[in-house]
């Protein structure tokens, strides 16, 4: 496991000099339902650097999955992306930028691309451009492989189809690559497994097949939406190790969605904490666990039972529950459950993003900090500290 720690310390330094691979700014996705409008994603900012793992954590209903789906324009109606940019670095020479796209929206988006950075949110959700991105440049794996893999096609068939969608190769070649992909994710006897159906495989093997499928075209970014939640701990450990290994081998970046802080501690380089459609804190993994700034992050860390000497202490709880999506609180979404809430301030103003770049970059949305400098020092407003 030593190689892991090396990359954890060297990578961020290398990554900072490079331009971000994916930059999400002010992303808003809402669902217009007969009962009311749900603002599932309400101004999310995320940054993923090449080769880095960004973990997105939050409770259910906080908009983690919708954010991930919005990046790839996979939100089904009545969901709609209403604002924001999803800037993805495809590279200046990418064939996508010179290819002919039938959709006007695609043409406009490609024309306005600068330095090989394309705004995915501006693309036509059904156009040729986003389809060239999906699976090829950005791949996605899901929580339940049984649902996302086809039960009536063999594993090999699905991988071959995926490869041939994006690359001009013969069936024979694609099949060889499928076998190779299965071997790389540690499926024993890939020559035989390539012809088996998903129901022949156990949960862990299915998730491996899903990963093989996602990585068959060597994406630059892998979005993993709770890939280990349905698995046992020992299988989860195997899958996490596998993802780390493949990530290093291919130099790909990962956007990893989870609700398990243990998994975050294990694999993340940077972490974004989400609450009710907003990223409330984004920082390096060490800073998050040992020096959290946002009250929600602090409360979340204290409420998790931890294996180890402090296991028996009484758990701190966050009072109340996540508000109903139709009934979002005004101002800071967390003020109804926050220990340090300031009446008159927190319930009226949506906290702006504060960014400190001293040391490692950190962004926080909390009114307790008056300025970026106060955030860096960790000093809160006087009326609260008293």
């Amino acid at each position: 496991m030593n190689h892991m720690s090396d990359t954890a310390t060297t990578q961020p330094a290398a990554a900072r000099s490079q331009p971000p691979l994916l930059e999400v700014r002010g992303l808003r996705t809402r669902f217009e339902l007969p009962e009311g409008v749900v603002h599932a994603v309400d101004g999310v900012d995320l940054t993923v650097y090449p080769g880095q793992t960004l973990c997105v954590v939050g409770e259910s209903g906080c908009g983690k999955s919708v954010t991930a789906r919005s990046i790839l324009q996979l939100v089904d109606p009545p969901g709609r992306i209403t604002a924001g940019t999803v800037n993805f670095h495809v590279g200046p020479d990418h064939p996508l930028l010179t290819a002919r796209h039938p959709s006007r929206r695609d043409q406009a988006a490609v024309r306005s691309a600068r330095d090989g950075v394309l705004d995915l949110a501006a693309l036509d959700p059904k156009g040729t451009a986003i389809r060239a991105i999906r699976g090829k440049e950005i791949a996605m794996i899901f929580q339940e492989p049984m649902v996302s893999l086809s039960p009536v096609h063999t594993i090999g068939h699905q991988i071959v189809e995926h490869i041939r969608t994006h690359e001009d190769v013969s069936k024979k070649e694609a099949r060889d690559r499928a076998i190779e992909a299965l071997r790389q994710v540690g499926i024993p006897q890939p020559e035989r497994r390539v012809d088996s159906y998903t129901f022949h495989l156990s949960g862990g093997m299915r998730q491996r097949a899903m990963i093989a499928l996602a990585l068959a075209c060597r994406p630059k970014l892998l979005i993993a939406d709770e890939p280990t939640t349905a698995l046992d701990v020992t299988t989860q450990a195997q899958i996490l190790d596998l993802l780390q290994e493949l990530r290093e081998q291919y130099g790909m970046a990962m956007l990893f969605i989870t609700h398990d802080l243990g998994v975050v501690a294990e694999i993340a380089d940077a972490v974004a904490v989400m609450y009710l459609g907003l990223v409330v804190e984004e920082c390096g993994v060490d800073e998050l666990f040992h020096d959290p700034r946002h009250p929600y992050t602090k409360a979340l860390l204290e409420s998790v039972p931890v294996v180890g000497p402090r296991a028996k202490r009484r758990l701190a709880t966050i009072t109340g529950m996540v508000p109903h999506p139709y009934d979002r609180p005004t101002g800071c979404p967390f003020h109804t459950r926050c220990r340090d809430t300031m009446p008159g301030t927190c319930d009226t103003t949506v906290p702006p993003v504060l960014t400190t770049t001293e040391g490692r970059r950190r962004t926080v949305r909390c009114l307790l900090y008056e300025s970026a400098e106060a955030l860096h020092r960790g000093t809160v407003r006087e009326e609260v500290s008293r």
Binding site: S5, V233, T234, A265, D286, A311, V322
Partner: protein, 370 residues
């Protein structure tokens, strides 16, 4: 809690309990029948007032064992010796439906999924009050009073008793499930993955509630879970299950700090630790392969095909669940031939070692040790 209970007779003594299911093979069972041994020869003592954890991966038989104790299943072999209020002992495994009735209100359960375990067409009053009606314990105003009291006990407002489950969030629904379990004043509560479906912030509320209720009412819990962190937080003793057998059983501290079965060690090493600085120190014990099919179990020690320490003897002789010798007074059982000689690593060793922590601190450069 556990100290005072040690010398008294256990509340429930499970002896040599086995549960075998017969299932059809192939399409519509045309390929004949086969048997699955879900639980094999389990011995377990549950003492009054303690929390016993049952932990293992999916398919290891922990839920089946819980259901046998509830007598939702009739075990194929073995005894369930339950000590009644007056001190006499009865074997629940031999009783029929009618004879079981008085025990149904003494042994209760909390289910995993609060959404599917509550009838959407019944109000809270009906859901929580049903056990009282079914056992003829209360009716009318008294029923209403007792439901109100049970709701108050689990932190719900009694005014809500005429509402339906859909009006409540996941955490609140789990509280309703707990209220339903507790309304008959049970002695033993079996919580089967009771917090697994809940979010982090809600989970801590429910765990604290379960602890408070145990203290107030003197309850005994059997807590079935796959989550080792929750088990360590809540339980006094833990039994680890693998392929229908208990492979290790010990007090929580002992089990986590000094496991005596290779499977326990592998489980503990697979746990993600919520501290990024421990990443480099962590030694993971890789488990080969997967859990074997319970219908086709390996000979000898059932864990030997995956065990990193396996020797010749393991694939022929099946080890028994025996006390480990050098633990002093702590009763520690392990189902391994080499439990006394293997040097296995627990969790505390990884998190507590001061030198390794200091080194980790240097490399990460953080100033505060949590």
């Amino acid at each position: 809690m556990s100290e005072q209970a040690v010398d008294t007779e256990p509340l429930l003594a499970v002896r040599n309990l086995s549960m075998r299911f017969t299932v059809g093979r192939g399409f519509l069972g045309i390929a004949g029948r086969m048997t699955v041994d879900a639980v094999t020869g389990v011995d377990l003592d549950v003492r009054e007032g303690e929390t016993l954890g049952l932990v293992g991966e999916s398919g290891c038989g922990k839920t089946t064992l819980g259901r046998c104790i509830l007598r939702a299943y009739r075990p194929t072999a073995g005894e369930l010796r339950y000590r009644r209020d007056d001190g006499t002992v009865v074997d629940l495994a031999q009783l029929n439906r009618a004879q079981l009735r008085p025990y149904r209100r003494q042994i209760r359960t909390v289910f995993q999924d609060p959404n599917s375990s509550l009838n959407p067409r019944m109000t809270l009053l009906q859901i929580v009050g049903e056990p009282l009606l079914a056992n003829d314990l209360a009716r009318g105003d008294e029923l209403r009073d007792r439901v109100a009291e049970a709701l108050r006990m689990v932190g719900l407002r009694p005014e809500y008793m005429h509402r339906y489950p859909h009006a409540f969030s996941g955490g609140e629904r789990q509280r309703i499930g707990i209220a339903r379990a507790l309304i008959t004043n049970p002695r033993l509560v079996i919580a089967d993955e009771a917090v697994s479906a809940l979010d982090v912030s809600i989970r801590s509320q429910i765990l604290n509630l379960l602890e408070d209720l145990q203290e107030q009412l003197g309850l005994t819990y059997i807590f079935v879970s796959h989550d080792l962190a929750v088990i360590q937080h809540l339980c006094d003793r833990v039994a680890v299950m693998y392929l229908g057998r208990i492979v290790e059983q010990a007090p929580t501290e002992e089990l986590f700090s000094r496991p005596r079965h290779p499977y326990t060690e592998a489980l503990l090493s697979a746990l993600p630790l919520p501290d990024p600085r421990l990443r480099s120190l962590k030694k993971r014990i890789p488990l080969r392969g997967e859990v074997p099919d319970p219908a086709n179990q390996p000979a000898g020690c059932t864990f030997h095909p995956r065990c990193p320490y396996t020797r010749e003897r393991c694939d022929t002789d099946e080890p028994a669940l025996l006390p480990v010798t050098d633990t002093g007074h702590v009763p520690h059982l392990s189902r391994c031939h080499y439990a006394d000689t293997l040097e296995l690593e627990g969790v505390a060793a990884r998190t507590l070692e001061p030198t390794s922590l200091r080194n980790a601190e240097k490399t990460s450069g953080a100033e505060e040790v949590r």
